[in-house]
């Protein structure tokens, strides 16, 4: 695949940049002029989800890229927003929605339809200024785009692990949940320790208890009121009865007088007493009833999640709710280790399917050893066959890591070309960073010149490189610098 021209437009400014099929150097004398921005514009224009640079927001710009690909010949891509891209092939426009249709778009560009390969192409041909020179076989290429060697190898060798990967994802998901549960369980334990007891009533329970107490009290008061009413009416009837009898009694001193409702000892007092008692109890009854009403209302709104119980802070409620969940850290731990074992088994299986008896692995490894030897990283004895899958980056530092990353990329590109017959462009952002000395850079460039002469090479740097007849793209002050002609 060869990038022919890139046309950029931002507001009233535009720029058209032509690239050569072999080497193009994006150069500026100073830093922060827009070299990296140009490279990222290219990737953005190819349909990748690339982060902006500080000065230019991609969504405000239009990018048109003409490319020539192995499979479909000349294609033009036009992108002016983050959610879609237009591909013009044989004069016909095709619109792709991103990122949903990214694979379909890239299938047109690279002539490959294997998702495992498409996902990992960018990591092979583009070396970011920041992340790129430390990325060997797994990690972030740029933004949220990742590279994974196992996936690429499976794609290239046509081995399918999608079922196993699904299983792995499921297990990972489960493990994450168990981890969350475990931390909740630990939190729960700490609350328990603080509270000094396991048997803390939950809010609902406390309210329910309070409510049933009140209801019981209400019932008792009601019964009492009923009894008082009954006694009152009996006493009043008795009072009337005595008055109607019209009795006359004689006192010891001989005086006679009539028995009336007012001279029976204790009768009126008992009525007064009952009346007052009734008043006090009905006051209490009203109070209890209103308390019950308020509690029920509170409970209802808590139930509907409109509000929390007012009697407690949200933290207290949260704690109590957590306490109600029966969680046993030991049991969760057991589940975690079971999952861990299962996960390991699945991963081992994936890895063995990926690596065992795989000529792609051997071929890439050979290339890495070859380039590693040339670059002075090591030799056949010191670089093991499975170094391709290493996860030990700590032992590599500075220029060594830089060169290793370079060797890995070239090995990938060579393998992709061999397998798919696609000549990927090689886009390097600042290959001279990291205090790599001139000799090392020369070694790296020699390999490019020798083995990748028919690949398009785009290098952004403030340094000059020794290529035969490269196209030099100078950037002065700003990338998009030409005023549009107003027609």
């Amino acid at each position: 695949m060869i990038i022919r021209t890139v046309y950029l437009k931002e507001g009233l400014f535009e720029r058209r940049i032509d690239f050569l099929p072999h080497v193009s150097l994006v150069h500026s004398c100073k830093n922060s002029c827009g070299k990296t921005t140009l490279l990222r514009f290219i990737l953005h224009g190819l349909g990748y989800n690339i982060p902006n640079t500080r000065k230019i927001n991609f969504n405000n710009c239009e990018v048109r890229i003409s490319i020539e690909c192995e499979r479909y010949g000349c294609i033009e891509l036009c992108r002016s927003n983050s959610i879609s891209i237009i591909l013009v092939k044989n004069g016909v426009n095709h619109t792709y929605v991103l990122p949903e249709q990214q694979h379909e778009l890239h299938e047109q560009l690279f002539g490959v339809n294997n998702a495992d390969i498409l996902n990992n192409l960018l990591g092979a041909f583009y070396v970011d200024q920041e992340k790129g020179w430390t990325l060997l076989n797994r990690g972030i290429v740029i933004g949220s785009i990742r590279f994974n060697i196992e996936e690429l190898i499976r794609g290239l060798s046509g081995r399918d692990c999608s079922e196993l990967i699904k299983k792995e994802n499921r297990l990972l998901n489960e493990r994450q949940k168990y981890n969350q549960m475990f931390s909740v369980a630990l939190y729960r334990e700490s609350i328990e320790e603080d509270a000094g007891s396991v048997a803390i009533d939950s809010y609902e329970e406390e309210t329910d208890i309070e409510l049933s107490k009140l209801i019981l009290r209400q019932r008792r008061l009601k019964a009492e009121l009923k009894r008082i009413d009954q006694t009152l009416s009996e006493n009043k009837r008795f009072k009337q009865f005595v008055a109607d009898m019209k009795l006359l009694v004689q006192a010891p001193d001989g005086t006679t007088f009539a028995v009336t409702q007012d001279n029976i000892v204790g009768l009126n007092d008992s009525i007064d007493l009952l009346t007052t008692k009734r008043k006090i109890i009905s006051g209490e009854y009203a109070l209890v009833s209103s308390k019950i009403g308020a509690l029920e209302k509170e409970k209802e709104s808590e139930y509907e999640q409109q509000a929390f119980f007012q009697t407690a802070s949200q933290i207290e409620i949260f704690d109590r709710k957590i306490l109600r969940i029966p969680l046993n850290p030991q049991a969760i731990k057991a589940q975690q280790s079971r999952l861990e074992k299962e996960l390991k088994a699945v991963r081992d299986e994936i890895s063995s399917i990926t690596k065992n008896n795989n000529c792609v692995v051997a071929s890439i490894s050979d290339k890495i050893i070859q380039y590693g030897t040339e670059l002075g990283i090591g030799n056949k004895e010191t670089i093991p066959q499975n170094y391709l899958f290493t996860s030990n980056l700590k032992e590599l530092s500075g220029a060594l890591l830089h060169k290793t990353a370079f060797a890995f990329r070239l090995a990938y590109i060579a393998e992709i070309e061999k397998k798919l017959n696609v000549k990927l462009p090689i886009i390097l952002d600042s290959p001279s960073g990291k205090e790599v000395d001139h000799d090392n850079i020369s070694l790296m460039m020699e390999i490019l010149k020798r083995d990748f002469a028919d690949h398009q090479i785009i290098i952004a740097s403030i340094f000059e490189y020794n290529f035969d007849d490269p196209k030099k793209i100078e950037i002065e002050d700003r990338l998009i610098n030409e005023m549009m002609e107003i027609q």
Partner: protein
């Protein structure tokens, strides 16, 4: 916010008025006929049995110990209203009752009003008398200064214990005089009075009269509650046994004490009972302990003999004791 603050101030004013009424009522309980809040004439109106009135204006200040900005205005308003009211009824006393310890906003009288105070006009320093006289200027028919009094009722803060401490003291003193020996009576009584009277005070068409009966009967209700065991009875009953019987048979006991057909009979028997040379309380206890078997046929319950006996004894004791208590309290307050 402003509205809220004003509403709170209004509530505070009501609260003070109610408690001032309680204090004035207790001070005059023996001669009292009825009590009226937000009455026709004044904030607080006490009608006495001799048909005279004690009229009071209750003026409260929320931050009474530091805020004296409105006390003079309050004084002026009060003497004006009291003057008008004293023309309409036969007033025995005309009182400005306030929680401000400096009701005249004057250095000379500050120390006079420091604590709960009752000061007649004539007992005030000359300068204070002058201030009050100035307030009467322009009133056509000014009040009789010989009847005028300034009374201080300390009443401040949001803390109920602090706010009501003087009111509580008054209630406790009153209960003490009745010689009832009931723990917690003062507090319960204060609550009942506050809620009972306050409830009426906050109604829109506020004026509601409470006669002496309404005020005194709650004491009798509390004093005759069977749940409280008299000390005298405890010599014969185990507290737990007493509580057990009350718990199981409270409504039966209450019924017996309240139903006149039954208690009249018991009172009659008690009257016939000879308890020569014994105190009233002792005679009451003797009666219950010795005569219980007479009521066995009427009060047969499904219980062991001991409980059965205790139940009847408690009923008999309570009926007679209640009668004595009622009489005692009514005499104490001249009801």
């Amino acid at each position: 916010m402003e509205k809220n603050r004003r509403a709170n101030a209004v509530m505070f004013g009501f609260d003070f008025q109610v408690n001032a009424a309680i204090v004035l009522m207790l001070e005059n309980i023996e001669d009292l006929e009825s009590l009226r809040l937000e009455g026709n004439f004044e904030d607080i109106e006490l009608k006495l049995e001799n048909n005279q009135y004690i009229l009071a204006q209750a003026k409260s200040v929320e931050k009474s110990s530091s805020d004296f900005r409105n006390v003079r205005a309050n004084l002026k308003k009060s003497v004006k209203t009291l003057s008008e009211a004293s023309q309409k009824v036969d007033a025995q006393k005309l009182i400005l009752i306030t929680n401000s310890p400096n009701p005249l906003n004057e250095e000379a009288s500050r120390s006079v009003f420091y604590e709960p105070t009752h000061r007649s006009f004539s007992s005030l320093p000359d300068s204070s008398q002058g201030i009050i006289k100035d307030c009467l200027d322009g009133i056509k028919q000014p009040l009789d200064l010989n009847k005028f009094q300034i009374q201080i009722l300390p009443f401040e803060t949001d803390d109920d214990v602090e706010k009501y401490k003087v009111v509580k003291q008054n209630v406790d003193d009153f209960v003490g005089k009745l010689n009832l020996n009931i723990p917690g009576l003062g507090k319960r009584l204060m609550n009942i009075w506050q809620n009972e009277i306050f409830h009426n005070g906050t109604k829109k068409n506020a004026a509601i009269t409470r006669n002496k009966r309404d005020i005194i009967w709650p004491i009798i209700v509390i004093a005759t509650d069977v749940e409280r065991c008299d000390d005298l009875l405890l010599d014969y009953f185990d507290q737990s046994q007493y509580d057990e019987i009350i718990h199981r048979y409270k409504s039966l006991i209450d019924s017996c004490c309240e139903r006149c057909e039954f208690f009249i009979k018991v009172l009659h028997d008690y009257n016939e009972y000879k308890g020569m040379g014994k105190s009233l309380a002792q005679k009451c206890l003797d009666f219950a302990l010795n005569k219980w078997e007479d009521y066995l046929p009427e009060l047969k319950v499904d219980a062991d003999p001991e409980t059965q006996q205790g139940l009847i004894q408690i009923i008999l004791y309570s009926i007679v004791r209640n009668r004595i208590q009622m009489q005692h309290i009514k005499e104490g307050v001249n009801l």
